[in-house]
Amino acid sequence: MTKRRYERPVITKHHSGFMNKFGNSPVSVPKTEIDGVAVKKLTEEYGSPLFVISEKQIRQNYKNLFRIFRSRYPKIQMTWSYKTNYLNAVCSVFHNEGAWAEVVSAFEYDRARKLGIRGENIIFNGPDKDENALIRAIEEKAKIHIDHFDELYQIIELAEKMGKQAQVAIRVNMDVGIYPKWDRFGFNYENGEATEALRRIAINKNLKLIGLHTHIGTYMMSTEAYRTGASKLVHLANLLKSQFGLVLDYIDMGGGLPSYNTLKGQYLQAEELLPTLEQYADAITAPFFELNYSSDEMPTLFLENGRVLIDDAGFLITQVLANKRLSDGKRAIIIDGGVNILFTSFWYKHKISPAQQTSVHTENAAIYGPLCMNIDCIREDIVLPTLKKGDQLVVHHVGAYNVTQWMQFITLRPNVVMVMEDGSVELIRKSEDLDYIMSLESIPAKLQTGVK
């Protein structure tokens, strides 16, 4: 029999009598293993903190979203949003499931090409595509989504010079009834810029208009915004067909679907607040049936989802460094993972579970990271069991945007491992070491003397 775990005593306010507004006392369910692999074992081998990505969960998410759309519209093509998480192993799982690549910079474009994705299967978005990248994209028949007139002029010029036809679509922004309006990317629908851009492309023989694109926003909580967006694109497509006889290959509805991470401003849990994926899919696909296309011509629906496919496949394992009590009596827990690696804690109230069995007694606490910075706060308020130094915590839903937006600050970025479908564990990004960081730097000769 193992020795029972010691927990320091806590004082909890007792509510008795009638049912009260606080509901049941919160219970935190420990997360002791990820896809069958013990958290303890993972950190013993790969250290702490540690990002863990579940291959099984990614594939399940992909299949689930694909099924939901595929049962509502016949032609679906998923494209993996690189910026969400462009670790090679992660991209490979998506490509393996059938997703194309959606990139927003020359850097990401090159990454996709290095992974063996051909130009035709890359969607090139974003306001900054430098000349070399555009030349390469035109050459390799990538699907270029034009963001502004200056880019359009540049592509016209380049394509003419190269004697090639560029495969293009335009990004359209529109009022879909949400605040703030996302009108900084692409051509506006209401002020006529979109139709003007389309007209210019349609009459240019060096450009082939193959699609329309919109991305109405991120973490969209309203399905109706999508319905409006899709309707407006469908309207443009109908216009193109009737005016120019142009039949599009695809309509790209972008991404923006939320994951079940609760935003900082939200009172209710995301699960209770958000529409279901089916409702989003209904809203996105329904306007497509208003197209004046014949059944053979129906365009493919492209989706650029990132967050919703990867967020819950990522976990961050951290360790308690210390407990302390704040001036107002509130408990604070210091862990070894800070905002430098958990960038999303700036906008999410991440769900955090202990990684070991605990008693039912809980206490309100703040969780701080290890950085010597006041902003390094992971959760301001969270109800957790009492924890000791060395206890482990698992941060949930961290698959999106963390391993792309993290920064190297006063410590080194940790290992990232993937738990494979068969239960084996693979290191997919090695932790940095000092030599690697310093190898990028150089010291001017006269400063190489050390402390005098």
Binding site: Q60, K63, N64, R67, I68, R70, S71, R72, Y73, P74, K75, G98, R118, E120, N121, K141, T276, E278, D282, T285, F289, S295, D296
Partner: protein, 714 residues
């Protein structure tokens, strides 16, 4: 000239229901063993065919020997029965014309009115007319040359000698030698026919020798050769060979002995010979009576231009296995994506009695669950609120859209069918979709809708404890009418990780199915239009050659590809599937390998999609074993071939479409040790052209590449 030559040769082979030139030549050579009779026969054929061509009868029919073989028999009969005098030769010419007109009238009448072959009736009537007419003249000497002997009889036992003499008599030849030559020719042409001849003859022989022993030698000969002809006709040439046809031959050859005796006595007072009357009457009566059966699934009468009995069987079994359920309209599954059939035909819940032929569809996720969480709410179900589409083009004839959806687990037995739409697809076919979501119906009565158009959303109304789509075909516009068994024209059925392409089948319970998504490129590649031409650079083993294809159409409006080597592949396309329905020609042309690899092609690409099609054994293997197996064909096909085709995975959107094929041939029963394999691939370019074909079969390696005419393509 070529046409005349072919028509003559085919007239000879036509008597054995054959379409082989070489057999015609052997048979002709056999008749020339007795030069007078042979020449008379040749004149008869040539005159008939010339006459037919001069009068502008259908050239193809003349070529096939349809009008010639009665002339052949009539000509030969004159030389066989009579001393040839100048007067008789003159009259003989005239009677060839009579036989021709009788043939043209009778053969065509029987074909048009009863869909029966005229056989040799015109010949019989011509000769009777002459015999009765000839009694006006005393100088015509009736000569029966049974005594003629050209060697060999003495070396053979009576029973064997009679067999070959009987075969000789078919072409009005005396003696055994022509019979032996004819028989050898037949053996090369068809093992089945040879077996039938021996069986028919033997049974007849046993009967007339031991039971009807008072039959004269003349009667025995008559009975024997009629038995042989009857056995040929019923044992594989006009009826597809099978166990039952074998039994039919046995019975018929006994009947021949009886009818020969009957006709002999009947015609004796008029001094008329029996000739082929027993054969004609028995075969015609049998064929005609068989047409009135309720089910024609066995003892199948020939419904296509005859080949050898082997070819007939191969063609028929291939056709049955590939096209038995084929329909001229092409319904597809009424939804998008992959759905699971929770209740199929004769299902355990409600698909019973009059409502047996219906499907209940639901959606399951990758781990086999049909709902999220506990499934306590309608919206937890993956299929709930997904679009339901029209299976076929049609008119909306009935819409019910005011029944509230049930809570999970509840049934609305008052309105069993719930919210429903009934569509009229024309041709007397209706489809009905039920348990739709309340308020989701997007069409109104009277609307005309296209296939694939969204009708409503899947719901949970009526007798539906959990959300599902009930789909059925029916024959009226009545809601909840009894179901009608009608197949879906194309769909994919999940089998483990793979998808199997199905066409005109009834998806069974507990499988996952999905529609094929049309791919423009594949459709472009296989959309052959009249007049299209292609040329290929080919290599077969060491030999290099060029082969041209042209798309043509025949008189029945069937589209086919013809190669310049005279091979033909008949093609057909439904909305989603390209078929090669049959192939005629050599096994060394590019078209042959195209036939193997494109016997059925879905016009949409899907990863891990594969399909299986039977190939007639004679198209799949040249092995000697096949010939050995053919005498046993009445037991069913002894050697079967199947090709398994599948798409190679396409990684990029501009990759070529590669279809791999694995041909396997396997023997059954006696020949179970035999097996052969071959494999090949067809590449369809991203531009929608059949770029190349490749096949390795036995020791042969074939490949060919499309020659792209640069000027034309620009």
């Amino acid at each position: 000239m070529k046409l005349l030559f072919e028509s003559i040769v085919f007239s000879y082979s036509q008597i054995f229901f054959s379409n082989r030139k070489w057999l015609g030549i052997i048979l002709f050579a056999g008749t020339m063993l007795n030069p007078v009779i042979g020449a008379a026969g040749l004149i008869g054929v040539a005159l008939s065919n010339l006459f037919a061509l001069y009068l502008k009868f259908d050239k193809e029919k003349v070529r096939s020997g349809f009008y010639g073989f009665n002339g052949l028999l009539t000509g030969a009969a004159f030389a066989f029965y009579f001393e040839l005098t100048p007067f008789l030769v003159l009259v003989g010419f005239l009677f060839v014309f009579i036989s021709f007109f009788l043939a043209a009238a009778l053969e065509n009448y029987l074909a048009a009115a009863f869909n029966l072959p005229g056989l040799s009736l015109p010949f019989v009537f011509t000769l009777y007319i002459f015999l009765i007419f000839s009694t006006n003249f005393e100088q015509i000497a009736y000569l029966y040359k049974e005594g003629f002997a050209i060697g060999f009889e003495q070396y053979l036992p009576d029973s064997i000698s009679l067999l070959f003499r009987s075969i000789s008599v078919i072409y009005l030849q005396p003696g055994v030698l022509p019979g032996i030559i004819f028989f050898i020719g037949i053996l090369f042409f068809s093992r089945v026919m040879a077996v039938n001849i021996v069986i028919g003859y033997t049974l007849n022989y046993l009967l007339i020798t031991y039971a009807f022993s008072s039959y004269s030698p003349e009667l025995m000969l008559l009975s024997s050769f009629n038995a042989i002809l009857t056995a040929i006709a019923l044992g594989g040439s006009l009826i597809i060979v099978s166990r039952k046809s074998f039994l039919l031959v046995a019975i018929a050859s006994v009947m021949v002995a009886i009818f020969t005796g009957f006709f002999y006595k009947l015609l004796m007072p008029y001094f008329l010979p029996v000739l082929v009357l027993p054969f004609n009457s028995i075969v015609l009566a049998t064929l005609y009576s068989l047409k009135f059966r309720q089910e024609q699934s066995d003892l199948v009468l020939l419904y296509f231009p005859p080949g050898s009995p082997e070819e007939n069987l191969y063609y028929h079994t291939n056709r049955v296995s590939r096209f038995e359920k084929f329909k001229q309209i092409f319904p597809e599954l009424p939804f998008y994506g992959e759905w699971f059939i929770s209740q199929g035909f004769f299902g355990g819940y409600t698909h019973k009695d009059d409502w047996s032929y219906a499907w209940d569809f639901i959606i399951k996720n990758e781990s086999g669950k049909e709902f999220e969480d506990e499934g306590n709410y309608k919206a937890d179900y993956y299929c709930y609120d997904t679009p339901v589409v029209s299976a076929l083009e049609g008119d909306v004839v009935r819409v019910i859209d005011n029944i509230t959806d049930n809570k999970i687990g509840e049934n609305n037995l008052k309105y069993n069918w719930g919210n429903s739409v009934v569509l009229n697809h024309g041709h007397g076919l209706y489809s009905s979709m039920s348990h739709l979501k309340s308020g989701s119906i997007k069409v109104a009565e009277g609307d005309h809708i296209k296939r694939g158009q969204v009708i409503a959303n899947c719901g949970n109304s009526g007798r539906s404890p959990y959300p599902h789509l009930h789909f059925q075909f029916q024959l009226t516009d009545k809601l909840g009418d009894k179901t009608y068994k009608f197949p879906f024209s194309s769909y994919m059925q999940k089998d483990g990780e793979k998808f199997i392409l199905k066409s005109f089948e009834f998806p069974p319970e507990n499988v996952t199915v999905a529609n094929i998504e049309l791919h423009k490129t594949l459709k472009k590649a296989l959309n052959f239009r009249l007049g299209d031409e292609f040329e290929f650079e080919c290599n077969l083993g060491e030999i290099s050659f060029r082969e041209k294809w042209e798309v043509k159409v025949d008189i029945m409006n069937n589209l086919f590809i013809e190669s310049d080597s005279n091979c033909r592949a008949y093609i057909y396309m439904t909305d989603k599937i390209f078929y090669i329905s049959s192939y005629i020609g050599s096994r060394s042309s590019a078209l042959y390998f195209f036939y193997l690899l494109a016997i059925r092609v879905p016009l949409g690409y899907h990863e891990k999609l594969e399909w299986h099609d039977p190939i007639p054994a004679r198209h799949a293997t040249s092995s000697f074993i096949r010939y050995l197996s053919e005498p046993f064909l009445f037991l069913g096909e002894q050697i079967r071939s199947e090709i398994r085709l599948y798409f190679e995975e396409r990684i990029n959107s501009d990759d070529d479409f590669v279809i791999d094929g694995e041909l396997s041939t396997r023997g059954k029963m006696l020949f179970s040790g035999f097996s052969e394999k071959g494999n090949g691939k067809m590449v369809i370019s991203n531009e929608g052209e059949i770029k190349s074909l490749e096949f390795e079969l036995g020791k042969k390696y074939f490949n060919c590449n499309l020659i792209i005419d640069e000027e034309k393509s620009e």
